[in-house]
């Protein structure tokens, strides 16, 4: 036997062990969940529903599918626009709270706060805020305050504050220190040098990230409709339950259009900020 082989404790490398363990965990998880390959094949009724749903994608509704529409109901497309508008208003209000709170907490959690204790407390608040998903916050606030727009807005604002604050503090800490150093050398206090020396170079990235989070807030606001808030999710759920798939697709396309519009807007802004 080659003596070198004796030095090797395992016939596989460390990386091989890691990969094997991950694969083994996957198989164990599948057994634990009692998954079976047959579950993946839809039953006959399911295939029919899926076919109906996806074929409706090519002909989204421009009017109500229901035969009976109550008097005074706005035209279908107007209702779609109204739902999109409310979805955006919820998201925008939540984001305006989250950005302000996120900036304050993000600064306190960054090295600019100048105190390890303040930093630690700010980080704990941030971790608590973002470790609970907005849908769970919504459940809590629904139980406490019922269906009021404020519960939806605050449910979105809390975790978004946490995430924004975390990213803002990291961007501030990673911003180059040379300009801030020059300001300190010119007699500026540590706090002010941090703010005026670092914030300007971090702002483009902070703005780009806020835009991305705004997009996420629109999606969350839409999903909150499933709980009964009158955002677009509310109508998607209702149409889906009534098997009005063409209406569902109209709502989905409207949502996609909003996200694309955001993408276009933020790209234009990034271009203006670009270094």
């Amino acid at each position: 036997m080659d003596p070198r082989e004796l030095k090797r404790p395992l016939p596989v490398s460390r990386r091989g062990v890691v990969l094997f363990s991950i694969a083994a965990l996957g198989i164990i998880a599948a057994f634990a969940l009692e998954l079976s390959p047959q579950d993946l094949a839809p039953h006959a009724g399911g295939v029919e529903i899926a076919r109906e749903f996806f074929s409706a994608a090519l002909s989204p509704a421009i009017d109500y599918e229901a035969e009976f529409v109550p008097d005074g109901a706005p035209p279908f497309l107007i209702r779609t626009l109204g739902a999109i508008r409310r979805t955006l208003v919820f998201a925008a209000f939540a984001m305006s709270l989250a950005i302000v709170a996120g900036l304050a907490l993000g600064f306190l959690a960054s090295s600019g706060s100048g105190s390890a204790t303040i930093q630690l407390i700010a980080r704990l608040i941030i971790a608590a805020a973002r470790s609970v998903h907005e849908l769970l916050w919504a459940v809590v606030f629904l139980a406490a305050f019922g269906i009021s727009p404020a519960s939806a807005v605050i449910a979105i604002a809390i975790p978004f504050t946490g995430v924004l604050a975390k990213i803002f503090s990291e961007l501030l800490d990673e911003a180059p220190d040379d300009a801030a150093y020059a300001l300190r050398a010119a007699g500026t206090s540590r706090l002010r040098a941090f703010l005026f020396g670092r914030l300007p170079s971090a702002i483009p990235d902070m703005a780009a990230y806020s835009f991305y989070r705004f997009e996420c807030a629109v999606r969350s606001s839409a999903v909150l409709g499933f709980f009964g808030f009158e955002t677009i999710g509310y109508y998607i759920k209702a149409s889906f339950e009534n098997l009005h798939y063409h209406e569902v697709w109209t709502y989905l396309y409207a949502l996609i259009a909003v996200v694309l519009a955001f993408e276009y807007w933020s790209a234009a802004l990034r271009k203006r900020f670009a270094v």
Partner: protein, 256 residues
């Protein structure tokens, strides 16, 4: 506001600086008179930058004392030290400007240490017309008046260093410190920049202390030179009294 005739003096007495048990400067003593123009020369690692940072109190001596205008910098409180620094302009090796702001904002930033918080914030966002006029006049002196509203990262290396010089002058300093100000500047422009800096310091009667890597530039523009070697003062003399042999030795040291 130019300094009074006797402002901008330094006395260094037996100064040593040690970082993590490594001596950077040892037993350095010299005086600088108001309005004096002098270069600090020596090979890299000799302690030039540390010496400069002693002069604005960003580094404190481990032993000895640094007196500026008869005040021992170490005996000052933080806020007193900030007030002293506010009147000391510093041109850094790499400009240390905020790249995505306009030139006018970067120059105005020189006065942040002398203004209240709200006034500072306002002047960083949209400098008022008085500031703009002041910055424009300074940019004229450093030769780039047309760059007032240019984004700073659009400028060349030489122009950026002129903005840094304008920012230092906007402080209305008594002293101008420069740490290898032309290290990142195209050699053809370096000479103009050094000449400009020395001329401006003389016009305003400022004390100018510059670390210079380029010996021929130091020799041409600075009447006094302090040579550092391994943290000690190797010589401190008027430039025209340095013999050719000493210069040859210095050049060979610098080339190493």
């Amino acid at each position: 506001m130019n300094p009074a005739p006797d402002e901008g003096t330094y006395q260094l007495n037996n100064v040593s600086v040690t970082f993590a048990q490594t001596p950077v400067l040892s037993d350095v003593s010299f005086e600088i008179e108001a309005g004096e123009v002098l270069a600090i020369v020596g090979p890299s690692g000799a302690g030039k930058t540390t010496l400069l940072r002693l002069l604005n109190g960003m580094v404190g001596p481990s032993q000895g004392s640094v007196c500026h205008d008869r005040a021992n910098l170490q005996s000052l409180s933080t806020s007193q030290l900030r007030r002293v620094r506010a009147r000391i302009g510093f041109v850094h090796q790499s400009h240390n400007l905020i790249p995505n702001l306009r030139v006018v904002q970067n120059v105005v930033a020189g006065k942040l240490g002398q203004r209240g918080f709200l006034k500072s914030a306002r002047s960083m966002i949209r400098p008022h017309s008085g500031d703009q006029a002041g910055v424009h006049a300074l940019l004229e002196r450093v030769g780039i008046p047309e760059k007032l509203f240019e984004r700073t990262d659009k400028l060349s290396g030489g122009q950026t260093q002129r903005v840094a010089l304008a920012r230092a002058l906007f402080q209305e300093p008594k002293v101008l410190l420069a740490d290898e100000p032309v290290a990142a500047v195209d050699p053809a422009r370096a000479r103009d920049l050094i000449r400009l800096m020395v001329d401006l310091a003389r016009e305003d009667n400022l004390t100018l202390v510059a670390c210079m890597h380029d010996l021929s530039l130091a020799r041409e523009f600075f009447p006094r030179m302090i040579g550092l070697r391994a943290g000690r003062v190797a010589f401190d003399t008027q430039t025209d009294e340095i013999s050719e042999e000493v210069f040859d030795e210095l050049y060979s040291l610098a080339a190493r």
